[in-house]
Amino acid sequence: MTSRRQQRAFLTCSRSRKKSRVAQLGNMAASVRLLVRGLAHRSVTSAAAGGSCRSGGCLAPSSSRCISDAAEDRSTHFGFETVPEAEKAKRVYKVFENVAQKYDVMNDAMSLGVHRLWKDMLLHVMHPQPGARLLDVAGGTGDISFRFLNYVRYQQERQTRRAAGSVQTPSWQDISDKYPAEEDRPQESRAVVCDINKEMLKVGKQRADAMGITSGLSWVVGDAEELPFDDDQFDIYTVAFGIRNVTHVDQALQEALRVLKPGGRFMCLEFSKVTNPILASLYDAYSFQVIPVLGEVIAGDWKSYQYLVESIRKFPDQEEFKGMIEDAGFCCVQYFNFTGGVVALHSGFKL
């Protein structure tokens, strides 16, 4: 914990001279960090347990449980249930494996189509330019990535139209000058959809094929807590309605910081706390009474949708999550509320 506080002291925006230190910290590979953390924990527990511990970096016996924090003993929430941390990822995987086929239909039914507006707003705030590289984590069925590709293509077309329109009557010299420029196109925008669940990616790929998207999109299986990408790779990192299913949200945020280029933007769309009490009670009633019923009728799966609405309640609220993003090292963190706080868009920059 002390190391984290030290990190936070380093990472305040006003100290620009610490930029190199920030970059160094950010550039540590995730696996190395995890290893270091694991060893530090082990050494703390074995030191604290004293003579009762066998030699070497063994785990403390269960009697000194208060000091030991091995992953098997720690527990976390799965909806309103408490489960061991190691189990949560498996159960979340199972949930999304079950709902993958009907995921998009259910989204439309549960939100009455409003989720499309939320995702459109995300793109509007993001305002990507042609040539941007996007990493869509927990991207599953590809909603954000499809919108991203459409958006940059539209921007590209606007730019070319504007460029063509500015020269009304080109001379032969102008036209011949343009030919190499057209071949030497700016770097094509690329979107990478990363998800831990193969079923969701499968559904996403089918949708991409149906829409006829052939280039600029790749599908990668990966864990948000340990991304299979090098440092400083992406201009934009998005996670839409996925981060609340991650076991260690802080690790996911640190990974986001690592894979973003300096100047890159982190954007997270997630269900959040509704402030207005009347709206809140209506929303709660709708969530707990109607949504599992919809899940049973449309997808044949009550329990998965019960988990989904419970997991929304367990996720931190707007301010707390903003604090977590700042802790991870992002700057200029802000959030926008949609639909009265039902959904919040958090945004931060890596500097």
Partner: protein
């Protein structure tokens, strides 16, 4: 049975959640159910039996409507038909339970709780039984129509453990009814069995299926249904002994004819061919 004392507690929670602001109370009651893990009644993940999901009356109503619509749109969604049966069949199940308790064999079933699954059936022994015996005919029915006794959906929304078992027994007995009545699993056969079940059990889901099923039949099959099969099914349904009260698992060797006589069921007037055409 031993948890009947705590049933009022669960009902109270559910009434609370429907009377007050539904969502928040549901939250608190869900918390209570999860927090009170020592409660013997909530030992299956918050339910009374494996697979049980607690629901408020509002949710049951919504489920009934939703599952009805879904089942009508896609009749192959057996899980929706099952949910419709569970959410609408409370009174009929209580009636069935009373009938079973008053019958000595039915009472045995309620205490012993037999299950009809492939794992509990001795298929080789049943295949070696003589033709005309109940077990052999049942096996022939399974093979001809290519069905398995394991394909029944589990019970989820019945809030009493014994009634849930009766619902499950009703589903498992459905195939045996096909054998008893001599009906194949095509649309006409299924509708005939539904008419029989509606007359026997009074479950609203059966009645709904009985009314809406014929809409998908072609003219000739509809005529067969209305003139001969239908009245036969209804008459036999109302006068037959309660089919859930029979301990089928101990009667495989019994001859089919004798079993029909015992149950007060006449043989069918006409046997529709076992083709899979819906005739719609």
């Amino acid at each position: 049975m031993w948890h009947r004392l705590s049933n009022p507690f669960i009902w109270l929670n559910q009434r609370q959640s429907s009377l007050a602001s539904k969502g928040l109370k549901a939250l608190t009651s869900a918390h209570l159910l999860h927090a009170s893990g020592a409660e013997p009644s909530c030992s299956y993940d918050g339910g009374l039996y494996p697979g049980h999901i607690q629901t408020t009356p509002f949710q049951k109503a919504l489920l009934a409507v939703g599952s009805g619509v879904a089942a009508l749109q896609d009749p192959y969604r057996h899980d929706m038909v099952a949910v419709l049966g569970e959410t609408t069949g409370h009174l009929a199940l209580i009636n069935l339970r009373d009938r079973m308790q008053n019958d000595p064999e039915g009472y045995t079933i309620l205490t012993e709780r037999p299950r009809i699954r492939l794992s509990t059936l001795d298929l080789e022994k049943m295949a070696s039984l003589p033709d005309g015996s109940f077990g052999r005919e049942y096996l022939r029915f399974l093979e001809e129509n290519k069905v398995t006794p394991d394909s029944r959906a589990e019970v989820k929304f019945v809030d009493d453990e014994e009634l849930a078992y009766i619902m499950l027994r009703y589903r498992e007995v459905h195939d045996l009814l096909h054998t008893l009545l001599g009906m194949p699993t095509n649309m006409l056969g299924e509708v005939a069995v539904k008419w029989f079940e509606a007359a026997q059990t009074g479950l609203p889901m059966c009645a709904l299926g009985a009314v809406l099923g014929p809409l998908r039949l072609n003219a000739s099959r509809l005529q067969t249904l209305v003139t001969s099969l239908g009245p036969w099914a209804l008459q036999n349904g109302s006068r037959a002994r309660c089919v859930l009260s029979i301990f089928y698992e101990r009667r495989w060797e019994q001859s089919l004819e004798e079993l029909r006589r015992e149950l007060n069921i006449e043989p069918p007037p006409v046997i529709p061919s076992a083709s899979k055409k819906t005739g719609a």
